[in-house]
């Protein structure tokens, strides 16, 4: 059974979930033809926002959507309403977990507004237009042709500027997923909440002004990475690195993200080359479980942007993770990114998982949190058998589909000298060149230049 603070949903969570389901059903069928019952549900949603800062925007958006086919502005308003509901849920869930772990609440990360570069504005507008068309048709009844129509524009958005990497990454994953799933046999075959998430986040991520955490430069700090999460879709791979940063006499937990675009043929552990080709030395040191001397900038969210790294001493990742659990400053989700899917709270469990009626769980507080293998990446270097036999686990507390779970990132079997995780795969990939990349680089050299 879950430990007490997580056992029941936080106050307001059920109401927020019901409102989200309303919006998701509307999105599934499309804004192009709202049933009267859906209009009533949307009006009720607008009333729920009365008195909040978003109130007037949500009311205007609902009125526009109910009086004719919704346009871009109304869809942005409803996407913002949806994200506000997810954000409030995420805050309440994070507070529950902080109570359980005895971690003090931290101030919300400071942000600053960043303008998209002028050359990206038209492409972001094209992307929003594409999303508006999907919203009108309904996410459960998109025609494949409506997806391929966005190919060229998406290709340009990927190239235009690193400043729009976030929307470009998201749209690439969403576009790819739609292509692989369409046409749907039935409306209910759509992953309702997931596509509503991807659609809303995409629409808001394509707005020309984006709030971003503020940054401060740091130099010559010591980073001790204690675990790595592989995140990827078909064309992007990220190593999300969790570590302890020692800087100015203070210790805190930080998160660094190193990413690269992945050519389609790059698969399995060779996929690390998507990232290695840009960060070969830093990633190799992390794979060899070494500390790094780092310079770059530290965001108010606790994200560390690595600009320069130098190798340090080998570290014991169990010791570092264990010490990290006692620290009080942790990465936080930036205000406009707040969403239960963004909750990723690092945990180091210095004991064996328990098995009860076939469910493997980790002990936490006065209870058990079930282990999920749903998110296990082939790049993570881990399998269920290793996790079951381990007596030390590294991972993340996650919340999805209304339930808490523990996502394992590494495990050390009883008696094993070293933990199983992504480290060995990264270190092994870094030892040899990727033959796939060598072949395709040569093709790119001949064919891309010839074309232009």
């Amino acid at each position: 059974m879950l430990p007490p603070p997580l056992r029941s949903a936080p106050p307001g969570f059920a109401e927020a979930s019901a409102a989200l389901t309303t919006l998701d059903e509307v999105l599934l069928g499309g804004f192009g033809r709202l049933a009267d019952s859906q209009k009533d549900a949307l009006r009720a949603l607008a009333r729920a926002f009365d008195g909040s800062p978003l109130g007037p925007l949500v009311t205007d958006s609902v009125n526009a959507a109910c009086s004719g086919p919704a346009q871009e502005a109304a869809m942005i308003g409803l996407a913002a309403a949806r994200e506000a509901l997810q954000g409030a849920s995420a805050d309440a869930l994070a507070a529950q977990l902080n109570t359980l772990l005895g971690r003090p609440a931290q101030d919300a990360p400071a942000t600053t507004t960043v303008d998209a570069p002028a050359e990206a504005l038209g492409l972001l507008s094209n992307a929003r237009q594409w999303l508006v068309e999907l919203g009108l048709a309904g996410l459960g009844q998109i025609e494949p042709g409506a997806v391929t129509a966005f190919d060229a524009s998406l290709g340009e958005l990927q190239l235009v500027s690193p400043a729009v990497l976030r929307p470009a990454t998201l749209l690439t994953g969403f576009h790819q997923e739609l292509l692989s799933k369409l046409p749907l046999a039935a409306l209910t075959d759509a992953p309702r909440a997931r596509w509503a998430d991807l659609w809303s986040r995409s629409l808001l991520a394509c707005l020309p002004k984006q709030p971003r955490p503020t940054e401060e430069p740091i130099e010559g700090a010591k980073l001790s990475p204690f675990m790595v999460e592989a995140q990827h879709h078909r064309n992007m791979v990220s190593a999300v690195i969790w570590g302890v940063l020692e800087h100015g006499g203070q210790q805190r937990v930080v998160r660094s993200t190193l990413s690269g675009w992945r050519v389609d043929a790059l698969a399995g552990e060779e996929s690390w080359w998507a990232v290695l080709r840009g960060f070969e030395s830093a990633l190799r040191e992390i794979g060899e479980r070494r500390a790094l001397t780092v310079s770059g900038s530290l965001c108010s969210s606790g994200d560390l942007i690595l600009k320069k790294t130098a190798p340090g001493q080998p570290i014991d990742v169990a010791q570092v993770a264990s010490a990290a659990m006692a620290l009080t400053v942790w990465p936080q989700v930036a205000p406009t990114d707040r969403h239960p899917a963004q909750l990723a709270i690092p945990l180091f469990i210095n004991s064996a998982p328990t098995r009860d009626e076939g469910v493997l769980s980790v002990p936490l507080g006065d209870g058990l949190v079930p282990i999920t293998f749903d998110r296990l990446s082939p790049l993570q270097g881990l399998d269920a058998v290793t996790v079951a036999k381990s007596d030390r686990l590294w991972g993340l507390a996650r919340f999805d589909g209304g339930a808490w779970s523990f996502q394992p990132l590494a495990a050390q079997a009883k008696g094993a000298k070293t933990p199983s995780g992504p480290w060995d795969g990264i270190a092994a990939a870094a030892k040899t060149k990727s033959s796939t990349l060598v072949i395709l680089n040569e093709r790119a050299g001949k064919l891309l230049r010839k074309k232009s």
């Binding site: 290709g155 990927q158 690193p162 990497l165 976030r166 929307p167 990454t169 998201l170 994953g173 759509a190 992953p191 309702r192 909440a193 997931r194 998430d197 986040r201 592989a230 995140q231 990827h232 879709h233 078909r234 064309n235 992007m236 990220s238 660094s256 993200t257 190193l258 990413s259 690269g260 675009w261 050519v263 389609d264 043929a265 698969a267 552990e269 998507a274 840009g278 960060f279 770059g296 994200d303 942007i305 600009k307 989700v333 930036a334 963004q342 749903d374 990446s377 082939p378 999805d400 589909g401 209304g402 033959s435 072949i439 395709l440 680089n441 093709r443 790119a444 001949k446 064919l447 891309l448």
Partner: protein
């Protein structure tokens, strides 16, 4: 889709690593709609490639160079390039994955011969440009800059 799955934000769909993939011979292969399409090396000239497709349902197919010169080996059963392309698609997506995507039975998606016997289509000329553009688009990923910035949006994905 079950209601519990429909309520989830993250539904991972990792693609296992293909065994014995011949990237040099078939540098690009993908599924689009009911089609397997891809790019096959000519063997003699690195700047020349063949672009081919096979469409499930109709059984139609075509193969030409990127300059739209019809493949000389094309016949009623396709050509060696289409056979090679389908072979690589089986490695990448698996017979089951192909069956699901193409709406066919997995007993016919294990190789080109049984696949093409399942629906007898005909040679259907199409410009190579679409498949070739998809290939060039894919090749660009080898040259696009890496990033040290946070990408929270990738948290939604463990796929491909």
């Amino acid at each position: 889709m079950s209601d519990s799955l429909a309520r989830r934000s993250v539904i991972a769909a990792p693609r296992p690593s293909p065994k014995g993939r011949k990237v040099k011979d078939v540098p690009f292969v993908e599924l689009r709609g009911k089609r397997i399409q891809g790019v096959i090396s000519s063997g003699s000239d690195i700047e020349r490639v063949y672009c081919a497709f096979y469409e499930a349902g109709t059984g139609n197919f075509y193969c030409s160079t990127n300059n739209n010169r019809r493949c000389g080996g094309l016949g009623g059963g396709g050509c060696k390039h289409i056979v090679e392309m389908v072979g690589e698609a089986v490695k990448v997506f698996g017979a089951d994955g192909l069956a699901a995507a193409l709406g066919l039975d997995a007993s016919v998606t294990g190789n080109a011969r049984s696949l093409m016997a399942a629906a007898r289509g005909s040679e259907t000329k199409e410009p190579a440009s679409e498949v070739f553009a998809r290939f060039l688009n894919d090749l660009r990923y080898t040259e696009m800059p890496c990033s040290n910035q946070p990408i929270p949006e990738l948290s939604w994905f463990i796929s491909g």
